[in-house]
């Protein structure tokens, strides 16, 4: 049974996929969909409640919230995809090298990982982003720099168990080099848990980017980013709550969608769950 067929039976996962595809197309076509320019100020129409002309109201500078939310999809999705890519590349490379070659390389990298895991990650990200100065790129670097550790741990663990498997020895007996064995025999076997983890983490990463932006370290005004919008709306929470509700809802829906997909992928890739599905 193919992965797609298994996922198709999983209703929440399908819903998640539909939502993410929908949001991704919003991100791509934002300039054509958005009713207004997200950066256009209109001080005469400040803090308006949702209406036909401004379905999500306007903010304290009279910018259309709907347009800003739509453009915000671009920032959130592309940023979190970039961060996940950085994390996966770093985590898989370091974890594989540590697990496969062992010895001193393994000891050194795993002690670094231990140290990084001992800190609460968001605080570490705050420090790095603070040192580098507030900008979206720096938030990306900061999150990448702290998040790879968990991945390298998981990858190292699977590599350690897979490299002892007989098929790896058989490959060596066949004359394969170390790089060939890693590429052809080890990586395909460690990839599926990492992909599940990455999908589940997409939600966390979107939240972290939003959190760092909310704290003023990420997206700088006037860039429309959901976390930054929450921050800008905070002073008007009581009089114009729509400023916080809509970006907040978008964050929630996106995170939820990624978690649904992650759960679905985990079940679909888990051989024990397959048997249960067949029964």
């Amino acid at each position: 049974m193919s992965l797609y067929l298994k996922l198709k039976k999983d209703k929440p996962a399908m819903l998640g996929i539909v939502i993410i595809i929908f949001f991704a197309s919003i991100a791509v076509f934002a300039p054509y969909i958005a009713p207004h320019d997200p950066l256009e100020l209109n001080l005469e129409e400040r803090l308006l409640s949702p209406s036909v002309d401004h379905p999500m109201g306007t903010d304290n500078l009279g910018r259309d919230v709907l347009s800003r939310v739509l453009y915000g999809t671009r920032v959130s999705l592309s940023m979190s995809a970039a961060v996940v890519t950085i994390i996966m590349v770093l985590g898989i490379t370091i974890g594989t090298v540590a697990g496969y070659f062992g010895g001193v390389v393994d000891d050194v990298t795993m002690r670094v990982v231990d140290v990084l895991l001992a800190f609460p990650s968001i605080i570490l990200a705050l420090v790095i982003a603070g040192l580098l100065g507030p900008s979206l790129t720096n938030v990306m670097i900061a999150l990448g720099a702290i998040w790879w550790v968990g991945y390298s741990r998981i990858v190292r663990g699977s590599v350690l168990s897979i490299k002892e498997k007989e098929f790896v020895e058989a490959a060596r007996a066949m004359g394969c080099s170390d790089t060939y064995i890693i590429r052809r025999h080890i990586l395909p076997n460690v990839l599926s848990p990492v992909i599940v983890l990455a999908t589940l983490d997409m939600g966390h990463i979107i939240l972290s980017i939003a959190a760092l932006s909310f704290l003023g370290l990420g997206a700088q005004p006037p860039i429309p980013e959901w976390g930054a919008m929450l921050n800008e709306g905070k002073p008007f929470m009581e009089s114009a709550s729509h400023l916080m509700i809509f970006p907040g809802l978008m964050i929630m829906i996106t995170v939820l969608a990624f978690n649904f997909i992650g759960d679905g992928l985990r079940d679909a890739l888990d051989p024990r769950m397959q048997e249960m599905l067949i029964k």
């Binding site: 007989e166 098929f167 060596r172 007996a173 066949m174 004359g175 080099s177 395909p188 076997n189």
Partner: protein, 313 residues
């Protein structure tokens, strides 16, 4: 002509409990086209010997002696040189055909690996070769089955695929480590029949590592009996079965179901703490005081029949 000659080979591992002396002073020759059986009970170092030939032992193993393949010493070769020998000149067939195949790659891709590595064939050419090879090991519908994954193969079919993978580069020597263990008896017979046929057709030499005397007697010309780390008897299949000399070989033959199922008393010694003198003396009913002190040498008792026992001194 001698294809592979092992001279005074020692392989020791260091563990926390002491040195594990898995192979102690082994001399063996394999001629071109010869099928040699290496027989012994579990834990006597026969697999270590097989792995030592291809230098597949872990790096903390201390290996001494010489392994000459076509006159070149495998033990002193560079990593690049030995990699060109592995799979191309000397191939290995492993015991468990399920765990010896990568579960995420199709059988076709895996059987094609040696030709892609060593003969640099293009994908389609390699696949054509694979299908030919699978046909010769009698896998039905090979063009369909190359696209399947190892778990879709039955145990016997998987072992056939492993044999195909071993032979696909036309190696001069095959090291088969318990190729029939773990298969049921009818399938075992089929695999033995198949190996006999493909080895005869290709003229490949073989080192068969097994504890199954019946399989060894079917497939081999000569047999070496191993008892913790050394060879205690060597001879042709006929000599060994008709006229076993070493008390251990006799005991081994008597423990066969067809010969009355009589086990050898005692257990084989630990490789860390080997007995002095003849390694078999604690279990031997014919042991004398001399056996407890001195290690016997291999003694010639017939044309190409050698035994390591003082009884024939």
């Amino acid at each position: 002509m001698t294809l592979l000659s092992i001279e005074n080979l020692n392989a020791h591992f260091h563990t926390e409990d002491g040195a594990v002396r898995a192979v102690n002073g082994i001399d063996l020759n394999i001629e071109e086209g010869e099928k040699l059986g290496l027989i012994g009970e579990t834990g006597c170092g026969k697999t270590v010997l097989g792995l030592a030939i291809l230098r597949l032992l872990s790096e903390n193993t201390k290996i001494e002696g010489k392994i000459l393949y076509k006159g070149k010493n495998l033990l002193t070769m560079s990593d690049n040189e030995i990699r060109k020998i592995r799979g191309k000149e000397i191939a290995m067939i492993f015991q468990n055909p399920l765990s010896s195949m990568n579960p995420v790659l199709t059988v076709g891709t895996q059987v094609a690996e040696p030709v892609e590595l060593h003969q640099h064939l293009k994908k389609q050419d390699a696949m054509r070769r694979v299908i030919e090879m699978l046909k010769s090991v009698k896998i039905p519908l090979p063009q369909e089955r190359v696209k399947e994954y190892p778990h879709e193969f039955s145990g016997g079919m998987r072992q056939r695929a492993m044999i195909a993978m071993g032979l696909i580069c036309m190696p001069s020597l095959i090291i088969a480590d318990e190729p029939t263990t773990g298969l049921d008896v009818t399938i075992q017979a089929q695999i033995v029949e198949l190996m006999k046929e493909v080895l005869r057709d290709s003229g490949t030499s073989m080192l068969l590592i097994t504890h199954d005397l019946a399989v060894a007697s079917e497939l081999c010309d000569n047999i070496a009996v191993m008892y913790p780390g050394e060879i205690v008897e060597y001879g042709s299949v006929r000599d060994l079965f008709k006229d076993p000399k070493h008390p251990y070989t006799r005991g081994f033959l008597n423990s066969l179901p067809s010969k009355g199922f009589k086990p050898i008393t005692g257990t084989s010694p630990s490789l860390i703490n080997l007995p002095k003198g003849c390694k078999f003396h604690p279990r031997c009913s014919l042991a004398t005081d001399k056996c407890k002190i001195k290690r016997p040498e291999l003694i010639k008792v017939g044309k190409k029949h050698y035994v390591r026992c003082f009884l024939y001194d």
